[in-house]
Amino acid sequence: MATRQTGTLARFMMAPSVILLLVWMTVPLAMTLWFSFLNYNLLNPGNVSFAGLFNYQYFYTDPAFFQSIWNTLLIVVGVLLITVIGGIALALLLDQPIFGQGIVRILVISPFFVMPPVAALVWKNMIMHPGYGVFADISRFFGLQPVDWFAQYPLFSIIVIVAWQWLPFATLILLTALQSLDAEQKEAAEMDGANFVNRFIYLTLPHMARAITVVILIQTIFLLGVYAEILVTTNGGPGYATTNLPFLIYRTALLGYDVGGASAGGVIAVILANIVAFFLMRAVGKNLDR
């Protein structure tokens, strides 16, 4: 396949994407890096001066900093757990012979098409609202005190909303993987005396490993950047309970208009994301290569 000619051509064809992304990656990043060393508040643009590492120190010592990193991870891990486990369960269910399979599938994938702010608004105002939400109505129906989700279980509520949006994606990929399982393998296992549970543990699950990997990889990329849902629902609170790193940066950038601080936060976030990515690729890259 690879002759010198095609090889050179290949490099050439790859160039537009690589250059575009390189520019897209480096120019703003370089500017961000530069800003991160400045005292630069948008509301005080006349007063820009060199700050050295002060922005980093300032961001790092923010009382919400460590909790925000912890929250970022909790959101990623929580959503992944729900979507992967839920996705597997749903995929198994949808793989069964059922009446109206097409419609069921349409219903299940629908949340994926809803834009995040709308999803958050709907959940906040109509589902989880302690006064008018459906959950509250259900609680009252059973004679229980409605739960104020965003005050009592803020992070969990965010995770639920985000998981709701990503569950269809996980389900779809896992379902496709499930359906690609060789029928003869299932039959072989059946002949070998494996019951449903054993077939699931020894055959289906390992078969889906790769798909699970992909789900984890893609979702992690998106989940590291969750912020719209937080902005719309809890605004990072109560306290710092739902402040994650992107939201902390958001707060710094668009409430404090502290460009220097936000840039430092951005640089920190990029570094953290890359650490996560590094471990992810290590753990997962193998699985993808097969």
């Binding site: 059946e190 002949m191 020894y202």
Partner: protein, 332 residues
């Protein structure tokens, strides 16, 4: 033990009847081969026996026990699939051990049995590999290994060699025959390869569109095919089938003569023919000739023969090896 009886078994998918109605008995220890053209229902029949499909009607009896409604796992049969259906994420050892593990055997027993199977199949050095790291023949053997550890009452093979190349197919063919000699377990083997059917079977079942055309030993089928279908199907190259005047002379609608049953001479003989393509295999030469008044024939000649495209040769069929068929295709 492994006597399998099909009583009036039929199978339809929806409205399509795949197997109209079949009766068949397979004796304990027999090596039975199902042959037939593609789509004739060989796999379906095997899967019915395995319990991977439900029968539409009729009963399947294994060792005197009616198993028609039983789950595959309960039937004590082992199946080797065409694709091998190995578990790709397990090592060879784990693959072979899987049925034992499912049966809840203890670790020591499993290890011993796996080691035994591996020894029999020459897999001892590969026990730690994954299927993806094995060659086709090795995979094939792992699939067999997975089948034999359980000591099933019968083995079912669905075209197990069709994914292998010719050379390997030859080797594996011998190995499976060998295994049958060793284990003496009933084996049912589906193939559409002539050579496999002829060389391995104790008994061949020729299927056509879900019907059994003939059951018998390979030589029986070779020597006395019951009808045109079997005559054309068994033997390679195919039997030459001749209609018209020549057949009439022998008092039949069709006569058949196998390529290896004709004398060839450059000087004189019953039929005069012009040579088309001559295929020199070294050991033999297959001549594709056009015989005057007879039509195209394939003739097997000596490897040393030197004839060329366009030469004239004379053919004399061995009259004792002539097959006669009536109008409706039955042997006379």
């Amino acid at each position: 033990m492994g006597q399998i009886t099909l009583k009036n078994v039929s199978k339809s998918f929806g409205a399509t009847v795949i197997i109209p109605e079949i009766d068949l008995t397979i004796e304990d220890g027999e090596f039975v081969v199902f042959v037939g053209p593609s789509g004739c229902g060989k796999s379906t029949l095997l899967r019915l026996i395995a319990g991977l499909e439900d029968t539409s009607a009729g009963a399947i009896v294994i060792d005197g026990r009616d198993v028609t409604g039983e789950a595959p796992a309960k039937r004590k049969l082992a199946m080797v699939f065409q694709s091998y259906a190995l578990y790709p994420h397990m090592t060879v050892a784990k693959n072979i051990a899987f049925p034992l593990k499912m049966a809840g055997e203890d670790k020591a027993a499993i290890d011993r049995k796996v080691a035994d199977a591996a020894r029999i199949l020459n897999l001892t050095n590969y026990l730690d590999r994954r299927p993806g790291q094995l060659s086709g023949g090795q995979r094939q053997r792992v699939a067999i290994g997975r089948a034999i550890v359980r000591q099933p009452s019968a083995f079912l093979f669905d075209e197990p060699l069709s994914n292998l190349d010719a050379a390997l197919r030859g080797t594996m063919r011998l190995e499976i025959s060998e295994l049958h000699h060793q284990l003496k377990t009933t084996m049912i083997y589906v193939t559409h390869d002539q050579v496999e059917a002829m060389t391995m079977a104790d008994k061949i079942v020729v299927l056509n569109a879900g019907n059994i055309e003939q059951v018998g030993s390979p030589m029986e089928l070779y020597k006395t095919p019951k009808n045109l279908f079997v005559a054309g199907f068994i033997g390679s190259p195919k039997m030459n089938l001749i209609n018209g005047a020549v057949a009439a002379k022998h008092g039949a609608a069709t006569v058949g003569i196998r390529p290896e049953h004709m004398q060839i001479s450059t000087s004189a003989g019953e039929w005069k023919a012009t040579v088309g393509v001559a295929e020199h295999l070294g050991s033999d030469t297959f001549l594709h000739v056009n015989a005057d008044g007879v039509g195209p024939l394939t003739v097997r000649a000596d490897g040393e023969i030197s004839v060329r495209h366009g030469d004239t040769v004379f053919l004399t069929p061995d009259p004792t090896k002539l097959h006669r068929f009536s109008e409706d295709g039955r042997a006379m």
